[in-house]
Amino acid sequence: MTGTLENILQLTISGLAVGSIYSLVALGFVIIYKATDVFNFAQGELMTLGAYVCYFFIIQLNIPIFWAFLLTFATTALIGLITEELFLRPMMGEPIFSVIMVTIGLSVFLKGVIGLFWGYMIKKFPSFVSEAPVSIGNVAVSPAHIVTITVSALLIIIFACFFKFSTLGIGTRAVANDQDASLLMGISVRRIFGLSWAISAVVAAIGGILLSSITYLHPSSSFVGIKVFPAVVLGGLDSIFGAIVGGLIIGVVENIAGGYLGGDIKEITSFVILIAILMIKPYGLFGKEEIERV
C-alpha cells in the first residue's frame, strides 16, 4: 500500500508544479478579467510570446540572465500595453461576443508572430537549476519543480499585497468593482486598463519562462492557455485566490488522472471538469455570482 501512497504523492508534487504554472497563467487571466471585463483567449499566446522574448534575450543576444529577465518583463509589459491600446480600447462597451472575437483574433495573430520569428523547432530553454532530482523521504522531487512552486508562491504573495495595499492595486480593484464610480473618484480608468494588460502580460511571461524551463520551448506551449480555462472557471472568473486554487487543483487532478488512467484521459480531464463545473456551479468556487434569472 505504501507504494500506492508514494505514487500518489509523487504525482501530486509534479502536479503541483504544473498546477502552479496554471495558477500563474490563470492569475494573468483574472487580472485582465477583473479590471476590464475581457476574457482573454490569447493568454496562452501571451505566455508563449513572453518565453520566446526571454529566450531571445538570453540565447540570441547573450545577455546575462538577470538583465535578460528585466528586459523581458519590460518588453512584455509594453506588448500588453500596446495590445490594449490598439485592439481592446476600441471595444469598450461593445457586446461580449465582439470582445471575445477580438481576443480570438489576437491569439491567431500572436501565433503567427511567434511562428514568423522563431519557427517551429523545439528549443531547449536554459535551465536555471540542476536537473538531478532530490529525494525527500521516498519521493523524488526535481529542483526545477521546487523553484517553480516557490516562484509562483512568491509572485502570488506579491500580487496579493499589490492589490491589497498599493494605490494602483486598490484603483484596479475599484475599477473592477464599478467603472463609473471609480472614474468619479479620480481614478484614470484608461490607465488601469493599460496597467492590467501590462501586468497580465508580465505574469504570463513568467509562467511561460517557468513552463519552458521545466519542459521545452515550442509554439504549441500556448496550449496551456487553453488548459487554464478550467482552472479559471473552477476558481471563479474574478477571484485571484480562486485562480490560484483552481490552477493547483486542475494541475494535481490532471496529473493523477494521467498517472492512473493514461495520457489520453489526462488531456481531457480538465475539460470534463470544466463542463461539470459549468453545469453545477457556473460561477466557480470563489466567483461573484451574477444574479439574473432567465
Partner: protein
C-alpha cells in the same frame, strides 16, 4: 432598378425576393455559376465547392450565433461528428442519400446535448463550454483509434447517389450546389417565420423574449439543433469530397475560421453567411499567390508563409470586429443604398 422601399403589406416585407429584379439577379447568379463550373478548370471548381460547403457550415453557425446570440466556439466539433458519422455509415453500406441526413441528425443530438448548458449559461460561459466541447471532440477523434483510425485519419468513400458517383470536382459541384441552395432557402425561410423571429427576440433580450411568451428552453435548443445539423451536413460533405478525414481537419482553428466567416460576412444575415464563407475560403487561396510576387525581394516571406497567413487572418478578424462589425453584408448594403438613392443620398 428599384429605388427606395415602398411596401403596403407585411407579406411584402417578409417576401424572400423583395422585387422581381432581385429574382432575376439570383437566377443570373445561379446560371453564371453553373456556366462557370462547366468551363473553368479543376482548381476554380475546387474552390467553388469548398465555398459551397463552407456556406452550409457558416449558415448553421450564423443561425445559432448571429440570430440566436448563443456564442459557439466549437462548431468544428459538429463538422467532425458529421464527417465521421457519414463516413462510417457509408462504409457500413448505407446509401449516401440516407447517410447524409443521418450524419446531420447525429450531430443534432450532440448539438442539443451541448445546448443544455445554454439554458443556464450565456455569453462568456457558453463560449467556454462550446470551446471545451470542440476540444473534447477533437481529442476523441484522435484517441478512439478503433473508430476513427486516430491521427492517421481515415479514407472516405466518394458520395454516390442512384449509381452516380460524385468523385470528381466537377461532378461534386452538382451534388453540393443543390444542397447548398436548399440549405440557404431553408435558413432564409426559418428566419422569416416564427422560429426565426423567436431566435432574434432571444438574442436581443432573453428575459423580454420570455415575457412575450417565447419558450427559451425550446427555442434555444432548437437553434442548437438546427445549427449542429447544418454543421454535421457540411462536415459530411467535406469528408466525401476530400475522400479523407483526420482529426487535424477539425481543430479549434476551424471553429475560429467559421466564426471569422460569420463576422466578416455579417452576423445575423443569411446573405452575410454566403459572403463570409466565400471570402474566407477564397482569401487563403489568393494569398497563395502572394509569395510568387515577393519571392525575389523577400525570401523570408515565402519560407514563413503560413505564419504570415495566420497574422493576416488574426488582423482581418480583429479589424472587421473593430471597424465594420456589420461585415461585408453591411458594406454591401451601404453601397447598394448609395446607388439606389443616388443622386439624393438622403
Amino acid at each position: 432598378m428599384r429605388s427606395g422601399d415602398f411596401k403596403t403589406s407585411y407579406r411584402e416585407d417578409i417576401a424572400i425576393f423583395q422585387t422581381a429584379f432581385v429574382k432575376v439577379c439570383v437566377l443570373l447568379f445561379v446560371i453564371g455559376l453553373v456556366g462557370a463550373v462547366l468551363v473553368s478548370d479543376i482548381y476554380v471548381i475546387y474552390i467553388i465547392n469548398l465555398c459551397a460547403i463552407a456556406t452550409i457550415g457558416a449558415l448553421g453557425l450564423n443561425l445559432l450565433t448571429g440570430f440566436t446570440g448563443q456564442i459557439s466556439v466549437g462548431h468544428a466539433g459538429f463538422l467532425a461528428i458529421g464527417a465521421y458519422s457519414s463516413a462510417k455509415l457509408v462504409e457500413a453500406g448505407l446509401p449516401f442519400l440516407l447517410a447524409l441526413p443521418a450524419a446531420g441528425f447525429i450531430a443534432t443530438l450532440c448539438g442539443m446535448l451541448v445546448g443544455i448548458p445554454s439554458l443556464k449559461l450565456r455569453g462568456l460561459y457558453l463560449a467556454i463550454t462550446t470551446f471545451a466541447f470542440g476540444f473534447i471532440v477533437e481529442h476523441v477523434a484522435n484517441s478512439w483509434v478503433s473508430l476513427t483510425n486516430g491521427a492517421n485519419g481515415m479514407a472516405v468513400m466518394p458520395a454516390s447517389v442512384f449509381g452516380l458517383t460524385f468523385d470528381t470536382d466537377k461532378s461534386f459541384f452538382f451534388l453540393v450546389f443543390p444542397i447548398a441552395v436548399l440549405a440557404v432557402a431553408y435558413a432564409r425561410n426559418l428566419v422569416r417565420s416564427k422560429p426565426g423571429r423567436a431566435w432574434i427576440a432571444i438574442r436581443d433580450r432573453d428575459i423580454a423574449a420570455e415575457t412575450m411568451g417565447i419558450g427559451l428552453r425550446w427555442y434555444k435548443l432548437s437553434a442548437f439543433a438546427v445549427s449542429s445539423f447544418y454543421g454535421g451536413v457540411a462536415g459530411a460533405l467535406y469528408g466525401h469530397y476530400m475522400q479523407y478525414i483526420g482529426p487535424n481537419h477539425f481543430e479549434l482553428y476551424l471553429s475560429v475560421q467559421y466564426l471569422a466567416m460569420i463576422i466578416v460576412g455579417g452576423m445575423g444575415t443569411i446573405l452575410g453567411s454566403i459572403f463570409g464563407a466565400a471570402f474566407m475560403t477564397v482569401l487563403p487561396e489568393l494569398l497563395k499567390y502572394l509569395p510568387d510576387l515577393l519571392r525575389d525581394s523577400f525570401p523570408l516571406v515565402v519560407e514563413r508563409f503560413a505564419d504570415i497567413n495566420l497574422i493576416l487572418y488574426g488582423l482581418i478578424i480583429m479589424l472587421f470586429v473593430i471597424i465594420e462589425p456589420k461585415g461585408l453584408y453591411g458594406i454591401w448594403r451601404n453601397v447598394k443604398t448609395y446607388w439606389q438613392m443616388w443622386p439624393y443620398t438622403h
